[in-house]
């Protein structure tokens, strides 16, 4: 066993050894300088549950949006799908995961056109949650809509029900996931609003990649930047006629 012991990564062992003690703090500081210190300052304590006092949302100003695709690439890299993963080589293009995409909208009459990113809209009344037979499709207290892949049976009814085509079914075995973003064959997935980052007080990856046009924040907090901007200039809900009250809002769509 001694030979095998030496195979274990020493650094990771150090984490194990120091867990729960002062050593953890030191290791934490060295492996993630800055990130832990500055970001956690505004974040909720890690052991505190989320609450419905918060409703996370994203505001997208489409006036600056062209087809640069930065938000899509950032999502792929962050969450390990599309170009951010070596997986899904067998799936056809229409079978591959698509968490976020850029959509071009054109008014045929006038020629007025806009480009915008389209992803899970994190509805207050999500049809995907309504139709899910097992409750795998669920909405967190803070408004983020997720799939509990532990109880997802892969029936795809949520994909039938989503008006935004925001969900993807995994058509083959995956082996190249990110540690913080479990994804796998036979289950449905979609944009998580980078829940793993949000819980740590950070912005979703797309917002970080496009800070000039995307704002992330608490829609329930009137003093948050997103709420103030929405109060000042308003925002559009896509398919507002369905009354789903999405958490993703757009500006500059004058259709």
């Amino acid at each position: 066993m001694n030979k095998n012991d030496s195979l274990v990564d020493q650094k990771r062992r150090a984490i194990l050894g120091g867990m729960g003690g002062t050593a953890a703090a030191i290791v934490g500081l060295t492996i993630a300088p800055g990130v832990l210190l500055t970001q956690t300052a505004q974040a909720k304590p890690v052991d505190e549950a989320i609450s419905s006092k918060t409703r996370w949302g994203i505001l997208i100003d489409t006036n600056n949006c062209n087809d640069c695709n930065d938000c899509v690439t950032a999502c792929e890299e962050e969450n390990g799908w599309g170009s951010g993963s070596t997986d899904e080589q067998k799936s056809r293009p229409d079978q591959k995961a698509q968490w976020i995409r850029t959509v071009k909208v054109t008014d045929k009459q006038t020629g007025y056109a806009k480009t915008l990113p389209m992803m899970c809209q994190h509805c207050e009344h999500p049809p995907c949650v309504d139709v899910c037979p097992t409750g795998a499709s669920f909405k967190r207290d803070d408004g983020i809509v997720l799939v509990d892949k532990h109880i997802c049976i892969g029936c795809r009814y949520c994909m039938m029900a989503c008006p935004y085509k925001a969900r993807s079914f995994i058509h083959e075995t995956l082996t190249d996931q990110r540690s913080y973003m479990p994804r796998g064959k036979g289950t449905v997935e979609s944009c998580t609003m980078c829940v793993h980052k949000v819980d740590n007080g950070e912005n979703p990856a797309c917002v970080d990649a496009c800070s000039s046009s995307m704002t992330f924040g608490d829609l329930n907090d009137p003093d948050s930047e997103i709420s103030k901007e929405l109060a000042r200039h308003g925002g559009t809900q896509i398919r507002a006629d369905l009354r789903l009250n999405p958490g993703v809002r757009y500006q500059g769509l004058n259709f």
Partner: protein
């Protein structure tokens, strides 16, 4: 879920009994231990690791509680094993040297955790693991 657990325990017990009783010469699995203390005593972990993980799973997924003590990511990170080429051993490696595979293959208790979860530390991760109590 309870029924499943009872079934698992019964099948594990039967397997262990037959394995120890009939094939006494089959070597027992010797999982590679991390250095220092695990987050819970070893005996406790042997028996109850799935309960801890299950509890933490719902805490994290539904309530956003991201403490690392019983975090699945943390288990995978600390107990990662490298092969002779310095590569992390995957869960489906025929050597069964992946920490989880050592016992689970021996006891023939299949787990589907790694259909979705990363089975090794990932260099592609954009974030280091947070380490907290």
């Amino acid at each position: 879920m309870h029924v499943m657990h009872i079934l698992k325990i019964i099948s594990l017990a039967v397997l262990l009994l037959t394995a120890t009783g009939i094939n006494a010469d089959v070597p027992k699995p010797k999982p590679i231990h991390g250095e220092g203390q695990c987050v819970e005593p070893e005996d406790d972990m042997k028996r109850n690791h799935m309960e801890y993980i299950l509890h933490q799973r719902d805490e994290t997924m539904q309530k956003g509680i991201r403490t690392s003590k019983h975090s699945f990511k943390q288990c995978v990170s600390c107990h990662a094993v490298k092969d002779d080429n310095g590569e992390y051993v995957r869960i489906d490696d025929p050597s069964n040297k992946h920490f989880c595979a050592t016992c689970h293959e021996f006891a023939a208790v299949s787990i589907d955790c790694f259909q979705c979860h990363a089975d090794t530390p990932r260099s592609t991760d954009k974030h280091e693991l947070r380490v907290n109590k």
